[in-house]
Amino acid sequence: MYMINAQDIEKLAGLARLSISEEEKEELTKNMGSILAYIDAIKKATEANKKANTEEIYGVRNVMREDSEPHQSGMYSEKILNEAPRREGDYVKVKKIL
């Protein structure tokens, strides 16, 4: 049997905010099942060091800067708002959340 079933796919799709058709659910169950079976092999790796931290993995540290010297207000607003699917004045229009 596959490592994942149609209900699992449905749940993941909900979490990821994706609508998925019934037909595709079936296909995904199958091919995600074989991908998961493949990546499952890492469970056999025993020599792995525990608690890898990001600096050890990437070789770089997180870089912070002061939250200062802002650009001139409104400089980019029009360009960015022009790309929004729906706007009202200088606002991006969104449906109510509650």
Partner: protein, 476 residues
């Protein structure tokens, strides 16, 4: 003079410009003519810009004024996931089909300052997810050597425009092999620089701990020139490194030692002709006077699984920004949740949705430790393994891909088969090491084969040096 596009390199073009043999406008027109006759069939460009001639005229003014940089007037093609202000950048996705970039990527800014010309934006697997350009929402790109075969991917369009003389050079992005694999399928040079050496500001993020922008070119020298121009610390990308981040070692008068990971490259997993070609390449290396050493890389068998866990986890997070609210496609549902579901469900293609689901799975509660954390632990071990090996050798040699360009449709039904194509390339992304694919010959059917040199962090110079020696000695 008649422009011989096939044999042009950046340096040659630059010299012709300076001598006045032809202008940037002449050259741009020669490429536009070629694009006109070839692109319809190969589907390598998603868009050819309508202001190419104007760009070329500006470059010519600069040349005439004696202010030419090495890249002034050089015609570039740009992968569709790199932002050029005011132009569409779609990542070959329906969700960004009509999205206009609101700023220049740092690499674009640098190329503009140098006076480079942008011919157009190239086709790719949607959001750089794939190894064949079959996942583009705008149709597959064909391999110029055999139109029934894939160009590779995800930077397939960038490779084909260079191989088909529709641009002199191109930029791609490489998360698990997306520059090197199409370069090898199309008989070209493809460089994945050290993680952090080239700014990713303005590159659409896929796997943020893996992504790098890299050049696709006909020669190692061209790749070197572009790398030298675009790399460097960038205040807008906190992961960029300084020149001295990775310690350099003196290589003058030193005989380079090439490591061959025999345990990793076995006959079962590699196409017969690729394997034979690889053995022949090793023999040539020895003839060229390099020392060859067999090396063993433990835990490397897990690298592909580790890659697909980390990449999909990061991609699912990065792609959550496409919600139909801020920019891109918007599908209207009954409420906000429905807007999200429909916009993402309809706007994102099959492979992208699959990877988002996979990433959501490995990051979900209950599986997080077993997959994502474990993968990171193994990633660290793999990195350590390579760090140790690079105390003994200067370069590691592998084939770039286990097969030459495959047939269109051959692997697209089975995602796992497609993923296995990345087996030799993903380690450089997992560890952050630079790697280059160079042409190493042809199959009996005249399909290009490539091989890959990997160096330790910050040592692109070794990769360029050895690649140039190979080119000069007719390993083609």
């Amino acid at each position: 003079m008649i422009i011989d596009l096939k044999n042009l390199t950046i340096k040659k073009v630059h010299e012709h410009f300076i001598k006045g043999d032809f202008t940037a406008l002449d050259l741009a027109r020669a490429y536009l003519k070629n694009i006109e006759s070839k692109n319809k069939d190969l589907n390598a460009y998603l868009e050819v810009f309508d202001d190419v001639e104007e760009q070329a005229k500006i470059a010519d003014d600069k040349i005439k004024a004696g202010k030419a940089d090495i890249l002034t007037g050089i015609p570039f093609a740009i992968k569709d996931n790199i932002l050029i202000e005011g132009r569409i950048a779609s990542s070959a996705s329906k969700i960004l089909e009509n999205y206009h970039a609101t700023y220049d990527a740092t690499v674009i800014k640098k190329l503009k300052e140098a006076g480079a010309i942008f011919l157009g934006r190239t086709n790719m697997d949607e959001f750089a997810m794939g190894g064949s350009t079959e996942n583009s929402a705008f149709g597959v790109t064909k391999n110029p050597y055999d139109h029934t075969r894939v160009a590779g991917g995800s930077s397939g369009g960038s490779a084909v425009v260079v191989a088909g003389d529709m641009a002199l050079v191109a930029l791609g992005s490489d998360t698990g092999g997306s520059v090197r694999q199409p370069a090898s399928f199309c008989g070209l040079v493809g460089l994945k620089p050290t993680y952090g050496s080239v700014s990713r500001y303005g590159l659409m993020a896929m796997g943020s701990s893996l992504d790098q922008i890299g050049p696709i070119t006909k020669t190692a020298e061209d790749a070197e020139i572009i790398f030298n121009e675009v790399h460097g610390k960038d205040i807008n990308d906190s992961t960029t490194i300084f020149e001295n981040t990775h310690p350099k070692k003196d290589l003058k008068n030193k005989k380079l030692i090439i490591g061959i990971p025999k345990n990793f490259i076995n006959k079962d997993g590699v196409d017969k002709e690729v394997f034979t070609n690889f053995e022949a390449s090793i023999a040539k290396i020895k003839l060229l006077g390099y020392e060859v050493k067999e090396i063993s890389l433990s835990d490397i068998d897990y690298s592909l699984a580790v890659y697909y866990i980390i990449m999909s986890a990061e991609a699912s997070t990065n792609l959550s920004r496409f919600d139909g609210v801020k920019y891109g496609l918007h599908k209207d549902g009954k409420n906000l949740l429905e807007d999200y579901l429909m916009t993402r469900g309809e706007g994102l293609g099959k492979e992208v949705r699959r990877r988002i689901l996979l990433g959501t799975y490995v990051l979900s509660s209950g599986y997080y430790d077993a997959y994502y954390n474990k993968a990171n632990d193994i990633r660290k071990t793999i990195k350590k393994t390579f760090d140790n090996v690079f105390r003994e050798v200067d370069v590691i040699l592998t084939p770039t891909t286990p097969t030459p360009a495959f047939k269109i449709g051959e692997k697209s039904k089975d995602p796992l088969q497609m993923y296995l194509e990345d087996v030799f390339t993903v380690t450089a992304n997992l560890t952050g090491m630079p790697a280059i694919s160079v042409p190493s010959g042809f199959t009996n059917d005249k399909l290009p084969i490539g091989m890959q040199f990997i160096a330790s962090h910050g040592r692109e110079n070794i990769l360029f040096e050895i690649s140039k020696v190979f080119e000069k000695n007719g390993v083609k």
